[in-house]
Amino acid sequence: MRTLRDGQIGETVTVVKLHGRGPIKRRIMDMGITKGVTILIRKVAPLGDPVELNVRGYELSLRKADAEMIEIQ
């Protein structure tokens, strides 16, 4: 299974499924990361975490640990 954590900087990926549960998953979905959406992996923070994504036309930052919940293609 490939997750968002494995994505490369500058890569555009499509979300297949969200794993995990509870508030964090809900929050990720509320921010627009849902099944089928495309995400551009913009950059990684200077200290290596979190990552910056472009999703649904805006910039979102996400910790790598949480990015693991997002299965991509």
Partner: protein, 719 residues
């Protein structure tokens, strides 16, 4: 009276719109019992229309404090209309909240904000089609330029008067719509007709708060649970995912038809270009360091220090206190009254008001950073370090500021959105040694350590260690566990700072400190003044010449034994620690008075020999640790009270700091005795016990993880 609620995402221009609609006519407070700000005001030109500003939210989920407050207000207070403000440059995600608001059965206007930017870019949004697809009125506005904002308000008033409720949209696939329809039928007896869709969708999402709120029969909840589970099996996804995906799916469809962009997708905006440099992997840290240096330098050592020194020494010291005491003496006031007013009230309150100019300068800069959009980049850059101790990346700024003064440090924590992170930051910020604690360090370094610079350096290490240890320990306690702070944060577009917003937010923060923190400081200053100025001398109650014979000295004698295990059981040490509560640098002057000097230099050079006789290096170090970490000055406690908005939390925070300071000093002193002198006593055992407890609290597994592993789906629906 018409009540209009202002609802929208964070960073959508809601504050600007609110200020534009209400003008100066605002009331700023807190939502009951929480640290979330509550603002309301009268619509300009309408005495019978109130505008209620709700916290900026992305959704109406039950998981974040702001969202729970917003939906609680909407459901229970039933505003007459909603103005849903939308950032047109980020319309897709902004409309997600809209799809939820439409279900509430409240008349609603969509205010498309930042349309000036859309026009500048050459983009077009088909508002007629948007109104048709969402079934509610749409008004184009620019809150910044005050375009269309009154039209939006008029529209909302009109809808409120005609009670035109938007028709809920069929957002989901037919199968899901059918199930939601069935749930609506099941709960029909319990809810008002217009709200049934909202409750049905929430029940589909297994929203436990709504289940509790409706008080459904176990049989009913079980029936609904079965329906939902069947849909989940069919879709091979959980209910919340089905709903969110459905909403975003509908929006994406509409957006495709109504938004026409002039530029090809992927074109970088100005904001994108700025961000490429500012959060660049190599440049981000130097830029960050530079900005932080500027903030610190200007507010703490540059302009801020200049103004503060002037207010403290010249204004309150010479002009107010000096003239007042001369005037009161010439008017023949009793000596004690002059003392109370000049030393107690003016001295105490002046010590606090002296911080105000410095604080305003700091808040001004923080407001600019926030308004420009850099604040969320601070969190982005620093998150990696701070989240290890259960703090937020944004905790960096309060801690940095606290190395100058803890009061604005605590107030700066307001930029942290998450309630848990904010409370934790407030509790740990004052561990960082502030400017006023440095004289204590200098005093002991000079008296017992030949002025070694290592002592001052170690003070900072102790402060940082205290923050880290406390962060990890507190993170695992019940009070902070179970509410994991997701770091899923928007990085808003950069934009030019907007003067009105910045000045207003600076003033709000400054004035709320003066008013709320001021009262607690005034009271405690007066009490302490009485304690140290009066006492029984030769059996008669009178005003004492120096603290030696005061009630405070008696009190110091009584509590001194508590500090014996820390190596400073003399009453002078206890008294000095107490007067340190007014302002930390008082520790030095109190020692001066107690050793019979009327006035001492800032580092207390005159009393070094007295101290050297009373303290060993070890007990001096222990005293220093205790005073660096224990309860901060009254001004800081007042700020904690203001920010926590809760007396219990304030007491807990102060109690925690004192307890932590005591334990740390105990461990250092007792183990020091043991290793340096081979001295073994009951105290060593106590210290060993404390150390073991501390290590256990530090390294025990976080209790919340066990709870989180429980499958939400498996939890009984009718819990």
């Amino acid at each position: 009276m018409i009540k209009i609620a202002l609802v929208g995402n964070p960073n959508c221009g809601k504050t600007t719109l609110f200020n534009g609609l209400t003008g100066g006519n605002q009331y700023v407070g807190n939502w009951p019992g929480v640290t979330v700000e509550k603002k309301e005001g009268l619509l300009q030109g309408h005495k019978d229309v109130t505008i209620q500003d709700l916290p900026g939210i992305y959704s109406l989920s039950p998981y974040s404090l702001e969202e729970v407050i917003a939906r609680g207000y909407l459901l229970q207070e039933h505003p007459d209309a909603i103005i849903n403000i939308i950032d047109s440059t980020n319309i897709e995600r902004n409309l997600y909240l809209t799809t939820q608001l439409l279900e509430l059965g409240i008349p609603m206007v969509l205010a498309l904000n930042m349309t000036d930017i859309i026009r500048k870019r050459g983009d077009v949004i088909d508002t007629c089609e948007l109104a048709a697809k969402f079934g509610c009125a749409v008004v184009e506005i620019s809150a910044l330029n005050k375009e269309g904002i009154l039209e939006a308000a008029e529209q909302a008033i009109l809808l409120a008067q005609t009670k035109m409720v938007p028709k809920p949209l069929a957002l989901f696939e037919n199968k899901i719509e059918k199930v939601i329809g069935e749930i609506e039928t099941i709960i029909a007896p319990q809810v008002v007709a217009g709200e049934s869709r909202w409750y049905a969708v929430k029940l589909f999402e297994r929203d436990q708060q709504i289940v509790k709120m409706l008080g459904l029969e176990p049989a009913t909840t079980e029936l609904i649970g079965k329906l939902v589970a069947a849909s989940e099996d069919q879709e091979d996804d959980d209910a919340e995912s089905i709903i969110t995906a459905g909403r975003y799916g509908y929006i994406a469809q509409v957006i495709n038809r109504i938004v026409h962009k002039a530029q090809a997708p992927g074109t970088l905006t100005v904001s994108d270009k700025i961000d490429r440099i500012v959060t660049n992997r190599i440049l981000a840290l130097p830029i960050f360091a530079f900005i932080m240096f500027c903030v610190y330098y200007i507010s703490m050592s540059g302009v801020g220090a200049l103004v503060t020194d002037w207010v403290n020494d010249e204004f309150f010291g010479e002009m107010v206190a000096g003239n007042l005491s001369a005037w009161m003496e010439s008017a023949g006031c009793a000596e004690w009254l002059t003392g109370l007013v000049v030393e107690g009230i003016v001295g105490g309150v002046g010590a606090v008001l002296g911080f105000v100019p410095q604080m305003l300068i700091l808040f001004l800069m923080l407001s600019i950073l926030e308004d420009v959009g850099y604040m969320s980049r601070v969190a982005f850059i620093m998150d990696r370090i701070f989240r290890r101790f259960g703090l937020s990346g944004k905790s960096f700024i309060p801690m940095l500021v606290a190395s100058g003064c803890g009061v604005p440090g605590i107030m700066a924590s307001r930029t942290i959105e998450n309630d848990r992170d904010r409370k934790m930051t407030i509790m740990t910020t004052t561990f960082i040694p502030c400017g006023a604690k440095m004289p204590i360090v200098a005093l002991f370094a000079g008296a017992l350590f030949d002025g070694s610079g290592l002592i001052a350096t170690s003070a900072y290490f102790i402060g940082v260690a205290a923050v880290i240890i406390s962060g990890i320990i507190l993170k695992k306690t019940k009070m902070f566990a179970g509410d994991p702070a997701p770091f899923v944060m928007e990085l808003p577009s950069y934009h030019m700072p907007y003067a009105t917003n910045i000045l207003r937010s600076t003033w709000e923060r400054g004035s709320s400190f003066i008013i709320k923190a001021g009262t607690i400081i005034l009271l405690s200053s007066i009490i302490l003044w009485f304690l140290q100025s009066f006492g029984y001398v030769d059996g008669a109650w009178e005003m004492v010449e120096d603290n030696n014979g005061s009630v405070l000295a008696v009190l110091g004698n009584t509590i001194a034994p508590i500090f014996a295990p820390l190596g400073f059981g003399k009453w002078q040490a206890a008294v000095a620690s107490i007067t340190g509560l007014i302002a930390k640098e008082n520790v030095v002057s109190t020692y001066g008075v107690l050793y019979g000097f009327a006035e001492v230099a800032e580092d207390g050079q005159e009393i070094w020999s007295n101290l050297a006789a009373d303290f060993t290096q070890l007990s001096a170090y222990s005293f220093m640790i205790f005073n660096l970490l224990c309860a901060p000055c009254f001004a800081a406690i007042g700020a904690i009270r203001r920010e926590m908005n809760n007396a219990k939390w304030t007491a807990f925070a102060v109690g925690y700091m004192c307890g932590f300071a005591y334990v740390m000093a105990l461990i250092v002193y007792q183990f020091g005795l043991y290793f340096l002198e081979g001295h073994w006593s009951l105290g060593t055992v106590a210290a060993a016990f404390c150390l073991a407890t501390l290590l256990y609290l530090l390294f025990r597994p976080a209790p919340e993880e066990a709870a989180e592993a429980i499958d939400m789906k498996k939890i009984s629906w009718n819990e």
